[in-house]
């Protein structure tokens, strides 16, 4: 058996691998529990001791997307047979579907506001970071510090001024208002992260393009952007996660047209008692977009793809 200084031995690898996987499993328990609950029936979800094995049901999802009313057994018997599985599930509880719930609208709001503010933060952040990285800007260090300082207290500390300001400006409960708010919170992170990435791209790349007849903007677009893709992707994920999960401002500033999913999900109360499967179903669906987005961009998250064509 040979030993190498730079290569970890297989035993160390095995132990660290086991530790990481164990930790990952522990942190995933709440997540798995929520997903499991979303497929339980309401009685199963509150049974004691908690059920780990149960017969899966879509009742939570049906309840999430519908509003229902209780009807008398006679009326129920007089109805035509159920048209689909949702109707069937609901009738088993002596109820009929009264109409769609607000969930899909709130979910769509989350998508618009989350992705909108992410796009805006990354777009503005990239331009600002490029300028800070490449041009001589008077007081650049002070400006960068100022940008960072906007995150030195919790954003919610300024909730009341923002609330009053938004009411005056008519931005309360609007998509635009929430997009601007989340962009304002995210922009400092975006500028700082992206500046780090752009600083690492050698200027010679752009200079070569300038000499070859490209304009500054074309050099930025054709040379800097593709090489900053890694940084842009990870910045976008951070921004999206914040905007997607934000709760406090959403509660304060939205109530109807622009309400996002986080303040909405806890308000799903079933007829008689909390409808845990429906809440869990909302949480599960709410997880998906960020997960998909992250998986889509994961290639860019592995750094080092674009760094290495450098002559050493």
């Amino acid at each position: 058996m040979s030993f190498s200084v730079t290569e970890t031995s297989s035993r160390v690898k095995w132990i660290s691998g086991t530790l990481v996987i164990t930790y990952a499993l522990i942190t995933m328990i709440p997540l798995v529990w929520i997903m499991m609950t979303s497929f339980k029936t309401p009685p199963d979800s509150i049974s004691y001791p908690p059920k780990v094995f149960y017969e899966p049901s879509l009742e939570g999802y049906v309840n999430l997307f519908t509003t229902r009313t209780r009807v008398s057994p006679e009326t129920l018997a007089s109805l035509p047979p159920p048209e689909n599985f949702a109707e069937e599930i609901v009738r088993n509880r002596d109820m009929v579907i009264a109409g769609p719930s607000k969930f899909s609208g709130r979910f769509l709001n989350s998508v618009i506001i989350g992705f909108g503010s992410t796009f805006l933060s990354v777009f503005l952040g990239t331009l600002a970071a490029y300028a800070f990285s490449r041009f001589k800007i008077p007081l650049a260090d002070d400006l960068l510090f100022f940008i960072l300082s906007t995150r030195m207290m919790p954003p919610i500390a300024v909730a009341i001024p923002i609330f009053l300001m938004y009411r005056k400006l008519g931005l309360s409960d609007t998509h635009l208002g929430m997009i601007l708010l989340y962009t304002a919170v995210n922009i400092s992170l975006a500028v700082w992260l992206l500046k780090g990435f752009i600083d690492e791209i050698p200027r010679e790349y752009e200079e070569a393009a300038l000499i070859d007849g490209y304009t500054r903007f074309q050099a930025f677009y054709k040379v800097v952007l593709p090489q900053a893709a890694t940084g842009i992707a990870s910045t976008a994920i951070f921004c999206l996660i914040f905007a997607w999960n934000e709760y406090a401002f959403a509660v304060l500033l939205t109530s109807g047209t622009a309400q996002t999913a986080p303040p909405f999900i806890p308000t799903i109360i079933g007829v008689g008692g909390l409808d845990w499967p429906a809440i869990a179903a909302g949480a599960t669906l709410f997880l998906l977009p960020v997960m998909i987005f992250t998986v889509m961009l994961r290639k860019h998250l592995l750094r080092g793809i674009t760094f290495g064509a450098v002559r050493k």
Binding site: L210, Q218, R311
Partner: protein
């Protein structure tokens, strides 16, 4: 590359500092049509800065750059019509070799047609022997191949002048030798104007039609390689060229010298054997094509070339006498000197 766009480039009193750091001072130089000018100087001498001033990536503090008689001070790098090979970071890692080569041709200024791009890229790839790598990503090349591609990126264009910043410095000796010959051949084929920057005296001697020697941002001598070698105007310039290096010795070391100068510069060919004063052979270095002698002469080390047949053994005594050495004053400037 049928017709050729060649131009004369002129630097007039060009100066550039970065804060307190002087990079280029008061540089005057004329680069003739079709010449291959090599700027020679150690790291920090201002070579890169000179190229950046010509290409327009830096703004001069004072002085002008003239390309084809046209003052280009207010022109952008694109308008100046120059091509540059950078010392580092030459290829775009996100593009294939082919796209890297085509990149300059696709610029809004050149707007080359598809078929023309295809033709030029193929031609240059063949010239540089990288045709088989055209579809590789730039990151999948060896150092030598990367360097060929970055030279190729300049060659696909037909600029007024090619600027090359130590393009061979990162390569191993064999590749360097190959590419030296290649570059020289390409230059004579194209007949273009080329300004090449290096700290390697062999590159300067073998490729240049003119050599400029830089010292701390100053152009201290400009001339043909022979002129610079045979007639250097200072100790500094004399030490830049020649292997083994020129021996700088006190002028009064040899009895035969009329000591009107501070030091003398003794190249190996300035040493005659068999007459004069005795020196001790300290070490004999066999390099294959030549044999170097390390001599001790009155406490001074002298490096010389052994005459054919290497008649000297370590420890033996040999008589040497300077013949037509270069004479310098106390400041290291060349003075007329003679030998008795």
């Amino acid at each position: 590359m049928e017709h050729c766009n060649v131009a004369e480039v002129e630097l007039k009193n060009l100066s550039k500092s970065f804060g307190d750091q002087v990079a280029v001072i008061d540089m005057n130089m004329t680069i003739d049509n079709g010449s291959f000018v090599v700027l020679l100087g150690p790291t920090g001498a201002g070579k890169t800065t000179t190229l950046r001033l010509i290409s327009g990536l830096e703004k001069a503090d004072a002085g002008n750059v003239l390309i084809d008689g046209r003052n280009v001070d207010i022109e952008t790098p694109a308008q100046r019509d120059v091509a540059m090979v950078f010392q580092q970071y030459s290829l775009y890692p996100h593009l294939s070799v082919k796209d890297n080569l085509a990149f300059p041709l696709r610029s809004p200024i050149l707007k080359t047609s598809k078929s023309e791009i295809e033709r030029k890229v193929t031609e240059v790839a063949e010239k540089l022997q990288i045709s088989h790598k055209l579809n590789n990503r730039a990151t999948e090349l060896s150092g030598g191949e990367m360097q060929r591609v970055s030279i190729g990126r300049a060659l696909v264009r037909d600029p007024a002048i090619y600027l090359m910043d130590e393009p061979l410095s990162s390569l191993d000796a064999r590749l360097r030798a190959d590419l030296r010959i290649e570059l020289k051949r390409i230059h004579s084929e194209l007949g273009s104007t080329l300004l090449y920057v290096t700290h390697d005296q062999i590159e300067a001697m073998t490729m240049a039609t003119h050599v400029g020697v830089l010292q701390d941002g100053k152009l201290v001598q400009f001339g043909s390689p022979r002129e610079i070698y045979e007639d250097p105007n200072s100790v500094y310039v004399a030490s830049r060229l020649g292997l083994p290096r020129i021996n700088i010795l006190p002028a009064d070391l040899f009895e035969s010298m009329a000591s009107n100068s501070g030091t003398i510069g003794l190249r190996p060919e300035h040493i005659a054997y068999g007459k004069g004063e005795p020196a001790t052979v300290k070490r004999v270095e066999q390099l294959g094509d030549q044999t170097r002698l390390h001599l001790d002469f009155k406490g001074h080390a002298i490096t010389a070339l052994s005459p054919d047949g290497n008649p000297f053994a370590v420890g033996s005594t040999v008589k040497i006498q300077p013949e037509n050495p270069l004479c310098f004053d106390d400041q290291g400037n060349r003075v007329a000197g003679s030998i008795a």
